[in-house]
């Protein structure tokens, strides 16, 4: 079993209580890692370290080019360790080794490089438009770091989510206290090791493992934290926002989703059918922007369903560490039970199972939390399985008659995180994409999040954006600097308002 300590103020330390907690491999039920069970006092220690580091100015005053150089060095070091990190991600999060080693982990340094190039393209000091009222002045926008950023990471993509949060904060000159998910803390601690090796000054990066109720709550309420970034459930996001309000913190949230894939009549089904399944079943459906609702025209509904079933039944569910597994387990016994409950709810509400619908049992399956990739047909969008985020391998296929009706169905959700349009008529697909109230729409693909472009949610899917220039700017305050161009008192006629 791997053993880790927390990383605080440039030191590797146990929890102040001395308590630890173990993580579990969802494929085998075996313990994977032992990490400190940090509490409020550990979080306070980390916030104090980050505060000192920020106020000391070694990082925040460092030229941006140097910070970029260090982050690029970290990206290169990650590339050297992709297989090691991928193996840990697979053990803890249940990402198939094919996914973690070819997609999940290698994307992180790619995104970091994109963030670095974007950072260098953003002016730190930006001239504002000419102004001559009430007199000529020069005006500048200065983009400056918030200070200390608390960052709460989810369990489904623990490594890349840590990268998405930490790197923009660091590139813009902030210091961070990171709380990884308790199911999957190890790769964030591996990232801290890499950052230490790359020479990130002490106190700039702090990683504290421990339950959300203690560490997370402290980060949200602490007066020493200036910004909080959270990825997770909508209700906890609402809680984070409320707790952060006590100190009027800047908040960014990436929350739930129930994304729709709209398949148009002219779609190339050889691409769209596997594409819709890629959009749904990657990581056994445990991705917040997964396309878990597939909207299909009535005219081709039966053909699409037949093709979906045929492809889905070729998918192999197995241990995440097996390179032949297409889908791994869901993350926990509780999550497996949740998925099984939703299958029952779907059946009770009148949806029909096209394929799947069962927990996989027997042999090695009994050790982990495996569920068949499952497709429901004849789903009405008002059904529970079409409205609630299941976070498992369950697809609802919904029939529509016109593209306008499809858009209406897609938007009939409290969420607005992702989505896709499948069509050979790109202008039409773009027109439909623009009508969907959601943060990202892929046309003829899914899941291809890019470090250069913004990602985030409409409606109850979140606040703010990650990645791209918008994502970097979320970690900066804007200061307006006014430079007076009326040097003589007699030019300043507005002084007469006060009579001075």
């Amino acid at each position: 079993m791997r053993e880790y300590q927390n990383y605080v103020d440039g030191e590797w330390v146990e929890a102040l209580s001395g308590e630890t907690m173990d993580t579990t491999n969802p494929s085998t039920g075996e313990a994977v890692s032992r990490v400190p069970k940090g509490g409020r006092d550990d979080a306070q220690r980390a916030v104090a370290a980050a505060r000192r580091a920020f106020d000391g100015g070694e990082w925040s005053d460092m030229p941006v080019e140097r910070r970029v150089e260090i982050v690029r060095d970290v990206a290169n070091r990650i590339l050297d360790k992709v297989s090691d990190i991928a193996a840990i991600e697979t053990d803890e999060a249940g990402q198939t080794i094919r996914m973690s080693s070819l997609f999940g982990i290698p994307l992180a340094p790619e995104h970091m490089r994109a963030m670095c190039s974007t950072m260098l393209s953003l002016p730190e000091l930006e001239p504002l438009p000419f102004n001559n009222y009430p007199a000529v002045s020069w005006n500048l926008a200065s983009y400056e770091p918030y200070g200390v950023c608390g960052q709460i990471i989810p369990w489904n993509y623990p490594f890349i989510m840590a990268v998405w949060k930490m790197m923009p904060a660091l590139l813009t000159g902030n210091c961070v206290v990171v709380k990884p998910a308790s199911y999957t803390p190890s790769t964030a601690l591996e990232l801290a090791k890499i950052m230490e090796e790359a020479g990130v000054p002490k106190g700039v990066v702090n990683v504290i493992t421990g339950p959300g109720g203690a560490v997370g709550e402290e980060l949200c309420t602490s007066a020493g934290v200036d910004k909080i970034a959270f990825t997770g459930s909508t209700e906890v996001g609402r809680r984070v926002m409320q707790m952060a309000s006590g100190t009027v913190k800047k908040v960014t949230l990436e929350l739930g989703g129930k994304s729709a894939s709209i398949l148009l009549e002219d779609a190339d089904l050889d691409v769209a059918v596997p594409g819709a399944l890629w959009g749904t079943f990657l990581h056994a459906g445990q991705i917040c922007e997964s396309g878990t609702r597939l909207l299909v025209p009535s005219s081709i509904y039966d053909e699409v369903c037949e093709r979906l079933k045929a492809v889905t039944e070729t998918l192999k569910v197995g241990p995440a560490s097996d390179f032949d597994s297409d889908l791994g387990p869901v993350v926990s016994a509780a999550q497996l039970k949740t998925v099984m409950d939703y299958v029952q709810i779907g059946l009770k509400e009148g949806a029909k199972l096209l394929t799947g619908g069962e927990r996989l049992t027997g042999g090695d399956y009994d050790k982990g939390y495996f569920h068949q990739p499952t497709i429901f047909v004849d789903v009405d969008n008002s059904m529970t399985i079409a409205q609630e985020e299941i976070f498992g391998p369950v697809l609802s296929v919904i029939k529509y008659d016109t593209p306008d009706q499809a858009v209406k169905i897609a938007n009939d959700s409290i969420y607005g995180l992702g989505g896709s349009v499948w069509s050979t008529d790109i202008p039409q697909a773009i027109a439909i994409a623009r009508k969907i109230r959601t943060g990202t729409v892929w046309i003829n693909d899914f899941h291809l999040i890019n470090g250069l472009f913004p990602f985030g949610g409409y409606k109850q899917s979140g606040v703010g954006r990650e990645l791209g220039s918008k994502g970097l700017r979320e970690y900066q305050q804007v200061k307006h600097i006014h430079v007076d161009q009326t040097p003589r008192k007699d030019q300043k006629f507005w002084y007469m308002v006060l009579g001075v």
């Binding site: 998910a181 984070v240 509780a334 529970t384």
Partner: protein
């Protein structure tokens, strides 16, 4: 949608209340990693559009109106299970427990 608590859930909420937490409510939240799940919070604003779907130890159980409508007449059970490492921020986690919401029967 009606939610009935188990005796374990009743005891847990009472224990959290006895610890000094005030203005408790249970809200059925949705989305992302936790899927649909119950949260025990103090001094929490659950949003403008919630309906009461049950009670546990004198504490209201609330759910978003859209969720209650989607679930129709469904009967659900609020229970508690041991969980040492929950990130939900739900208050029972301080006791090493996590509330669950399951289908009745």
């Amino acid at each position: 949608m009606r939610v009935k608590p188990t005796p374990t859930a009743e005891r847990t909420v009472s224990e959290v209340a006895a610890s000094g937490r005030e203005n408790l409510l249970v809200v059925i939240g949705t989305g992302c990693c936790d899927s649909t799940a119950p949260y025990l919070f103090d001094n929490h604003y659950p949003g403008p559009d919630v309906v009461e779907v049950g009670e546990v130890s004198g504490v209201k159980i609330l759910a978003p109106a859209w969720l209650a409508k989607a679930r129709g007449e469904a009967e659900l059970v609020l229970d508690c299970e041991p969980e040492q490492s929950s990130d939900s921020m739900s208050l029972e986690c301080e006791l090493g427990l996590r509330m669950t919401l399951r289908l009745a029967g």
